[in-house]
Each structure stands twice: as structure tokens, then as C-alpha cells.
């Protein structure tokens, strides 16, 4: 007898439907899975056999053939365990087959029949809706994630027995609803109110957040670069619903959602170590999985110790920085993951870290310093709008009792500036000042005569290049937006010039 059960698998960011066909026929007892299964799918037969037995159902001593259609796409992962088991039960008449139609299944089985969580459930749920499936049965741990998709009945199950009884009609399950917990108010563990001193850096990060600018923090060890970077997501606008779904999908596929994870509403913060490989950063695998740049999508990618990263890894960051996405071409498939993040890089000013430090003399030779700084320059530095020197905070300033601005207050200003940009860029493909194309930057960020004169004088005296001029204009535009000003004034340009310290003549 033949049974068909619906399921799905993930390729890139999209799930595609997979039909699990189970045929139980007479012949020598066997269990075969076809349809390009990988090792994890092959092993499903052992799990399925044990799980069915331990759920007190029967594995027929007949010839069982499972086909995963379409048969020309490689299938991976343990999420087919549950649909295969359900298919076997249906094909042997242990549950009524007609109860399975219109329902899709996803889940890994333990030998005891328990249903274990899998990755990519949100994508599967979105795909299920498109497939015209009304009901989705997923592991209980993933149910809330799947329930993010409206108009879909989601059932969370804990084990195979429960699933079978539910399908036979012996057990009623309530569809899982999204818990409705207000996701707009996640408690942040970190806050800008914790940062003492660092007025300059705080201001720079506020500008960066407002205009979506990439930032480079330069300062001696222990000056607080990491602390500052960690707080940047707290002043970014919270994700909109569609963005949140997008980000949650990526985390879902990567299996990186927190346990019982629901929607990610906060811009993510990712800080890969400098020993990370290009594959870890960009994503990889024979069936590609998202890497750090995609996990930082709509959030912040923090690269500490920038010059320590491998040259080719930094080189590979160019595409995501320019296009906001990564394209991974593999033999099996070519996959595109979104990767529109804000880059925050940090580095010491020199190999020993103490160049310009007020506490210690730098012991590096000029050649060492040049070589070190050159490592960070090139393609990446070209994409960074703000250079911020982070100095060690002197101890009296650390002990000051002044209450400092919390992130929520800064975020309000950032939101106001972002709204101005949205109005300016309606019907344009870009949304922030940082991504104004070079051709029109002079038009969008037009200066008055005194402003132009100041910029010219600064170019002459400080040795700024034409390229850095464009960056200054973009940053000046953001400063004006924070100010609520229609025009970019001399004061805005003057401030913006202070954030280009690395471009200056040595």
C-alpha cells in the first residue's frame, strides 16, 4: 500500500516542497530510502524503525521503499524522520491515510519516539502556506517559530505516539498561536548609559546608527572599543515585521535561534573572532548555510582586531558590503543569502597598541606601524565612513556621578533621522545616507558656499582625498538629519571632517 506525506526542505533561504512517498509491498523485508538522501537522511530508517516500535506501533516485516520527491535534489538533515514515520504508519493502515492530506510534517525522531527540534522551521512554514497546506506538524520546541506565520494551523508534538493518536483522531491538539508577547520591548542587557566618558565615540556611533554608516574604532587595548560596539544595536531602530521575519528565517536555517525562539525583533550583533575562516564568515557547506555576515543581516557585524583577520577573508567581505547579500556558488546549487549589515571594525593604532596612548609609550618602529595600518586599509577601509579614535578614559571621568544618556533616548533621535531619510529616499532603492550613490552624493548633500570653502580648505590643509570628501558629505548629511536641518551647514561639515582621521596626510 502507498502513502504520501508532505514535507519540505530548505535550499538557501527558501523551502521547497518535498513529497515523502512510502510504499509497503510484499517481498523480502527491507527498508530503502531513495531520492538523493545524505547520510543523515539514510540513518532515518534506523531512527524511524526504533521510534515506531517504541511508540507501540508495528514496523511491518515487508519491503518498505521511501522516495523523497523531487528525486533530483539532494536532501539533508534529520527533519524527514517524522514524515517518513507517519508515512509508514499510514501505508500500513495503523493510522487513517486520509487524515494526513493537507498536513505537512517536519521533525527529527529519537529512538524512544520523541520528536526533537530541527532548523529551518520558519522557512518551512512560509513554504507550507504557499504549497496550500493548511496544517503543519512540527516539534513542540519549534511550534512558536512556525506560528509566526499567520493563517496556518501549527501543531507542536512531543513524540510519535502523540502524533499518531492526533492523526487517528484519538487525541485533540490545540493549534499553537503566536504568544503575543509584546516583542517591541525586549530588555537589553547592555545600554549606552553604562558607558562613562567617550563622548566623541558615543556621538560617532549615534551618527553611524542614524545614517547606517560603517565605523572603524581605533584605540589602545582596554579603551572600550568592544563595549561601545556591543551597544550599537541598542540604538538602532527595531526591526520592522518583514525584516524581523527575514532575520528570524536566517537564524532558523542556521539553527541559531534561541531555544523556543520566537521572532527576532532587535538588530542582531555578531562578533566573529579574527581566526574565522571565509566559509564561517560568508556561509558555506555543500548545501550552503548562512555565515556570520548573514546572521548580522539588518544588524551589526563587529570585527575586532581588524588587521589580524586573514587578507582573503577581508577581501571576501567586499561583495556583502557593496551589494548587501552573499552569493554562494556550489556544485549542488547557487544560493543567495541577504547580508545587509553595518560594519563596525576595531583595531589598535599600532602593533603594540600604545601609539598616542597617554599612559604608555609606543615601542613600535614607524615601519611596523605603517605595515600594521596598511593591513587594515584597502578594500575595506574604502567602505568605512567614520573613523573614531577611542582614547582611554582617564580615571576621574570614570568616577563621575553624572547620569548618562540611556540608549532609548539616543534611539529616539536615530529614529527621527531615519524617518527624514525615508522621506528623502522614497522610490529609491536605498534607504540610508550611507548608501547614497557616488554620482549623486554632491546633489543630495549639497553645501552652501561657506561649507564648500571649509571643505576645500580642509582638503588642502589636512590632505583629504576626493573619495574621503564624498564620505564626509554623506556623514554631514546624517549629522544634519540628526539636527533636523534641511540644509547641510558649515557646522555639520566641520564635525564630519573630524571623523576622517585615517585619511589625513601622515
Amino acid at each position: 500500500m502507498l502513502a504520501k506525506v508532505r514535507s519540505s526542505s530548505v535550499l538557501g533561504l527558501e523551502a521547497y516542497p518535498v513529497e515523502v512517498q512510502v510504499d509497503v509491498a510484499t517481498g523480502l523485508p527491507s527498508f530503502t530510502i531513495v531520492g538523493l538522501p545524505d547520510a543523515a537522511v539514510q540513518e532515518a530508517k534506523e531512527r524511524v524503525r526504533a521510534a515506531i516500535k517504541n511508540a507501540n506501533y508495528e514496523v511491518p516485516t515487508r519491503r518498505i521503499t521511501v522516495n523523497l520527491a523531487p528525486a533530483d535534489v539532494r536532501k539533508e538533515g534529520p527533519a524527514f524522520d517524522l514524515p517518513i514515520a507517519v508515512g509508514v504508519l499510514a501505508a500500513t493502515g495503523q493510522i487513517p491515510p486520509e487524515r494526513c492530506t493537507g498536513t505537512a510534517f517536519l521533525g527529527e525522531l529519537g529512538l524512544d519516539g520523541s520528536v526533537r527540534p530541527v532548523s529551518g522551521v520558519l522557512c518551512a512554514a512560509l513554504a507550507a502556506l504557499q504549497m496550500g497546506v493548511q496544517r503543519l506538524v512540527v516539534p513542540a520546541e519549534n511550534a512558536e517559530e512556525a506560528a509566526l506565520v499567520p493563517d496556518l494551523e501549527v501543531y507542536g508534538v512531543c513524540d510519535l505516539l502523540q502524533t499518531a493518536r492526533f492523526l487517528s483522531g484519538e487525541l485533540r491538539l490545540e493549534p499553537v498561536r503566536h504568544n503575543g508577547k509584546d516583542p517591541d520591548d525586549p530588555a537589553d542587557e547592555v545600554d549606552f548609559a553604562d558607558v562613562r566618558g567617550q563622548e566623541h565615540a558615543r556621538r560617532a556611533l549615534e551618527i553611524a546608527a542614524a545614517g547606517g554608516h560603517n565605523v572603524l574604532l581605533v584605540g589602545p587595548p582596554g579603551s572600550g572599543k568592544t563595549m561601545l560596539a556591543r551597544r550599537l544595536p541598542t540604538i538602532l531602530p527595531p526591526l520592522e515585521w518583514s525584516e524581523a521575519i527575514e532575520v528570524t528565517r536566517i537564524y532558523s536555517i542556521a539553527g541559531a535561534l534561541p531555544a523556543r525562539g520566537s521572532l527576532i525583533r532587535r538588530p542582531p550583533f555578531r562578533a566573529p573572532h579574527h581566526t574565522a575562516s571565509a566559509a564561517a564568515l560568508l556561509g558555506g557547506g555543500s548545501v550552503p548555510r548562512p555565515g556570520e555576515v548573514s546572521l548580522a543581516h539588518r544588524g551589526v557585524l563587529f570585527l575586532d582586531e581588524l588587521p589580524e583577520f586573514h587578507r582573503d577573508v577581508l577581501e571576501a567581505l567586499r561583495q556583502p558590503l557593496e551589494e548587501g547579500r552573499v552569493v554562494l556558488a556550489r556544485a549542488a546549487a547557487t544560493v543567495t543569502f541577504p547580508a545587509a549589515f553595518m560594519l563596525v571594525a576595531a583595531m589598535n593604532p599600532c602593533p603594540c597598541g600604545h601609539l598616542g596612548d597617554r599612559l604608555r609609550e609606543c615601542s613600535c618602529t614607524p615601519t611596523q606601524v605603517r605595515r600594521y595600518q596598511a593591513k587594515a586599509s584597502g578594500p575595506l577601509l574604502d567602505r568605512i565612513d567614520l573613523h573614531v579614535e577611542v582614547a582611554r578614559v582617564p580615571s576621574p571621568a570614570l568616577l563621575e556621578e553624572r547620569t548618562l544618556e540611556p540608549s532609548s533616548v539616543i534611539r529616539e533621535r536615530v529614529l527621527r533621522a531615519r524617518r527624514l531619510q525615508q522621506e528623502r529616499f522614497t522610490d529609491r532603492p536605498y534607504r540610508t545616507n550611507a548608501s547614497i550613490p557616488a554620482r549623486i552624493v554632491r546633489k543630495v548633500c549639497g553645501l552652501d558656499e561657506p561649507g564648500k570653502a571649509l571643505l576645500r580648505a580642509a582638503m588642502d590643509r589636512l590632505g583629504l582625498s576626493a573619495r574621503s570628501c564624498d564620505r564626509i558629505l554623506r556623514v554631514a548629511r546624517t549629522i544634519a538629519d540628526l539636527d533636523g536641518s534641511e540644509r547641510v551647514t558649515t557646522a555639520h561639515v566641520a564635525e564630519a571632517i573630524q571623523y576622517r582621521s585615517l585619511d589625513r596626510r601622515p
Binding site: 566618558g197 567617550q198 563622548e199 566623541h200 558615543r202 556621538r203 593604532p349 601609539l355 598616542g356 596612548d357 597617554r358 609609550e361 618602529t365 614607524p366 605603517r370 579614535e389 582614547a391 578614559v393 582617564p394 571621568a397 571649509l454 580648505a457 580642509a458 590643509r461 589636512l462 549629522i479 558649515t490 557646522a491 555639520h492 561639515v493 566641520a494 564635525e495 571632517i497 573630524q498 571623523y499 582621521s501 589625513r504 596626510r505
Partner: protein
């Protein structure tokens, strides 16, 4: 062959030091006679090797070739007997027999500012300001185009629109260290480059002490800013003492290893210099004050705070204005040349280089 041509030819002979060349000239009664002397005679006066090098060279080259070679790299040659040859340099025991020059030769009033190649930020600061004030007062600043103090001194003089001359330890068509090529171009435009070596000569280790003797010879005074205990700058100071020039040393923290050399000089009786005024005073030159831009009260208040190098956060704390306002004012002050930013983000008074 004229005497000038003979000096030029004699100067270009490699592998024989100026002192030997001078000795031979004195013994034979003039540079022409050295070039005309039979090999055996030269061998008696010097060594076999010296005689061979002189004979080989005079057979291969003539003065016109050397002049053409210099002209092809945009330089001219001044022989010892040339009326333009720097008078001060003639007074030292073994002056260069000829000098390759691009741009100007230093005027009579010239001060050498020298020091370590790896200075502290304070050292760079002192050298820069010293040269700035010397330049503004019409004194030519001499140095060696090396990294660190030398470069800071040249930059200071350039900023003051003063004259600055670099004495090189390699051929005049070369720049060592290479990253100073743009600086060398500025120096040539506003002052000059000098070398005793023919074009194409690489920068060899033993050239630098010889170069230092020219620096000391050209200068009325030598100022040493930061030198470790065995620094080339100390060699320059030693030459200066030998030639009867004034020697100044800038004091510093006793914890800074880069002051060992300067403190030793002070111990040995060098004049103490904390700024250009000390040097100008001793040379009886009246200092000229730099133009001060007129500033608004808030900007003036900011400049007044910069008694010592401060970063933006220090200034924000001290003046109570927002970070953005202070940053904007600093840019305006920088552009006017009133303040300057140091690496690491601290600001000091004085124009940027």
C-alpha cells in the same frame, strides 16, 4: 683642466675618503696635480688601492660627463673652489670636494635640527615647533631627511614658509627613506637638497657619519632633539664641537630612553634649548612672532585649554559643550592652522604639517 673640474672629478672617485683626497691634494699642490700624478708617485703617498682607484677613474671619466650626469637628474655641481660653495663649509678640516645641489644652497644663518629616527610624540612636537619658529624667524633649518626628528624639522620649517635644506647620505637623485619622496619634493621647492655623492649612489651605512659632518659644517648651531646613547645625532654634535659650532640639546623625561644622548650632551656642557628662542638668543637673531588668527571667544577658550595635548573627550569635559560642537570648532581651528591633531586623536596648538 681647470681647478674646478679637477675637484669635481676627484670628488667622484669612489672608495677613497675625502680626508685622503685632501692629503694628496695638499702634498701635490692642487687637485689637478693629483689627477696628473703618475701611479707610482700616488702609491708612495697613499696605498696601492688608492692609487689604483684614482688612476682607473681618471682614465674612464672626464668632468663634462659628470656635469652632464648631474644635469640629467636636475642637479648642478659646486666645486670647492666655486665662489658659490658655502663659505661655512670651507672652514671645516675636510670639506666635501664638490657638492651636488638641487634647489638652493643654505644661507649663512642656518641651524641643524637633528635627532632619533624613532622619536616620542613629544619629540616630534618639539622638533616641529622648533623648526617652525626658526623658519618663521628667517633661519634656514638643516636636517638629514631621515625618519622621525629630521622629517619633523623639515616639515616645521616648510609650514613656516621658511627655507630648509636636506643633506643626503645617498645620490641626489635618490630619496632615503623612500616614503619621504613627497617631503623631498617640497624641500626642494622651498629650499634645497645637497649631497656629496654622485647621482646613483645608494644610501650606505658609512655615508651617514660623513653626511653628518656636512650638516655640522653648514650650520651655525646644532640642536639635538631626542637621541639615544649611541645615536647618529650625537656624531653630528661631536662634529659641531670640533668645528666650533654651538651645540644645543633639548632635555626630556629621565624615564624616556630617547633622552640619554641629549642628557649626556647637556652633562658635557651643551646649551639647553627648550625652544627656538634659546637658539635665536644665542645666535643674536631676533625672533619673529607667527601671525595669530583672530578667534571668537568660544574658540579662544578652546585654544586656551590646550596647554597640553588633549583629546576631544577631554575638551568636551573641560568646556562643557557637546562633542559635536567641539568637533566642529576643532575643524575650523585646524583649517586656520591654530591647532593640530596628533596621531591618536589628541590636539595641540600650532598648525598642521
Amino acid at each position: 683642466m681647470t681647478e674646478q673640474d679637477a675637484w669635481i672629478l676627484l670628488n667622484a672617485i669612489p672608495g677613497v675618503c675625502p680626508r685622503t683626497k685632501h692629503r694628496l691634494t695638499a702634498a701635490l699642490g692642487g687637485p689637478q696635480h693629483v689627477l696628473a700624478a703618475p701611479r707610482d708617485h700616488l702609491r708612495e703617498l697613499a696605498t696601492e688601492a688608492v692609487a689604483r682607484r684614482i688612476v682607473d677613474f681618471r682614465q674612464q671619466y672626464d668632468p663634462q660627463t659628470l656635469r652632464d650626469q648631474a644635469a640629467s637628474v636636475g642637479a648642478r655641481i659646486l666645486a670647492l673652489s666655486d665662489p658659490d660653495y658655502p663659505a661655512a663649509l670651507r672652514t671645516i678640516p675636510d670639506p666635501p670636494l664638490a657638492l651636488y645641489v638641487r634647489g638652493r644652497i643654505p644661507p649663512d644663518v642656518a641651524v641643524a635640527v637633528v635627532g632619533t629616527r624613532s622619536p616620542s610624540q613629544d619629540g616630534v612636537e618639539v622638533a616641529y615647533t622648533m623648526a617652525l619658529d626658526l623658519g618663521a624667524s628667517g633661519v634656514c633649518v638643516l636636517s638629514g631627511l631621515a625618519r622621525g626628528i629630521d622629517a619633523a624639522a623639515h616639515r616645521g620649517a616648510l609650514e613656516a614658509d621658511g627655507v630648509t635644506v636636506a643633506v643626503l647620505g645617498c645620490g641626489i637623485d635618490r630619496v632615503w627613506p623612500p616614503e619621504h619622496a613627497p617631503l623631498a619634493r617640497f624641500i626642494q621647492e622651498q629650499g634645497g637638497l645637497l649631497s656629496e655623492y654622485p647621482p646613483g649612489t645608494p644610501a650606505l651605512r658609512h655615508h651617514f657619519p660623513a653626511r653628518n659632518r656636512i650638516l655640522a659644517g653648514l650650520a651655525q648651531a646644532v640642536v639635538v632633539v631626542e637621541a639615544r646613547s649611541r645615536s647618529g645625532a650625537l656624531i653630528t654634535a661631536e662634529f659641531a664641537l670640533e668645528f666650533g659650532r654651538e651645540v644645543f640639546a633639548v632635555p626630556g623625561s629621565v624615564l624616556n630612553p630617547r633622552t640619554q644622548g641629549t642628557h649626556q650632551l647637556l652633562r658635557d656642557g651643551a646649551h639647553l634649548a627648550t625652544g627656538a628662542a634659546d637658539v635665536l638668543d644665542r645666535l643674536r637673531i631676533r625672533p619673529r612672532i607667527r601671525d595669530v588668527a583672530s578667534l571668537g571667544p568660544e574658540e579662544q577658550a578652546l585654544v586656551d585649554l590646550l596647554e597640553e595635548p588633549l583629546d576631544l573627550d577631554d575638551l568636551v569635559r573641560a568646556c562643557g559643550r557637546s562633542s559635536s560642537a567641539v568637533a566642529a570648532m576643532l575643524t575650523a581651528l585646524e583649517v586656520q592652522g591654530v591647532v593640530r591633531r596628533l596621531p591618536g586623536g589628541r590636539y595641540v596648538r600650532g598648525p598642521s604639517g
